[in-house]
Symmetry: C2
Subunit: 192 residues, 2 copies
Amino acid sequence: MFELLIQSIKNHIELTDAEADQICAAMQVKKTRKNQLLIEPPDYCNSENFIVKGCLRLYFLDPEGVEHTLAFAAEGWWITDLGSFFTGEPAKYHLEALEDGEILVLRKDKLDELFETIPALNIYFRKLYQNSIVALNERLLNVISTTADERYIRFIKKYPALENRLPQYLIASYLGVTPEFLSKIKARIAKR
Amino acid sequence: MFELLIQSIKNHIELTDAEADQICAAMQVKKTRKNQLLIEPPDYCNSENFIVKGCLRLYFLDPEGVEHTLAFAAEGWWITDLGSFFTGEPAKYHLEALEDGEILVLRKDKLDELFETIPALNIYFRKLYQNSIVALNERLLNVISTTADERYIRFIKKYPALENRLPQYLIASYLGVTPEFLSKIKARIAKR
């Protein structure tokens, strides 16, 4: 249950067994159901979520009711509305479970306690966040500089395990195209 | 010279005078000239840059020679090609000085030393990075969900001091439109 989380942390910092136990004790295990909303604005988002099993999606619902997908996350990733989590302001983004699954929930107050007792966790999250910034810059660049065809090819490379797990309309939302246009892209690429 | 940097750090963590001196001693002061390239792919980028005076731009030059602006940064901000800086791979982005100015350069090996001797710096950078992620998600959302008019209005709000300091073609590059189209946007907004 906690193996993936502890391994993720040990990839970046050293942990004693006692520290690993302390981290596991701070997490709440939560089952997720397909289509369940874990964050729904304007709720407050006071937890970080580590995915043990399943796939989640972070999206923005605009005033016209259109969903804009910012990110997907699967096993071994953290995902939350980071702005709301750290500032305490209402959430801006929806977080949706796309499959039945299982996550480890870490409340803000528990994380703050862990930062106090295991300061090396600052190193772990600093490194995760720096990797996120690199990935977000690439995603941004893809959106502003490439065609939808190229964005689709990059999506497959970035999330190789997800292409067949996700409904096509969600992939279209991530790429910023209509589902019909995504079908055309896939047909075009299949012909090459 | 170092006042802005030390203040930026003290906004997030406590520092003794000795620690502040150690940080200042790790920085190299560098004058920048307008249009100077501080990072030019495929160079390796081995420094983080804190801006004391002036304005910098991070952009991607695509194979067709088109520049895509990812970010601007002015006084009090850090900016670098974070992927290259942390992985040691060649830089992907150009970093250009847009004005004559002054920056504090922190080499990777010096930063690693500082993380060892002043572990609280991990907290400082963790917090800066988490703020960057929030800002990058918003920028991404702006690009995928809003019209160019809205992107321009958000640009002015995000960088209120920069609108009159930057050439219009660079603002157009950041918004993902042509300079001619930016003129039309500004005319439309002025009429409201």
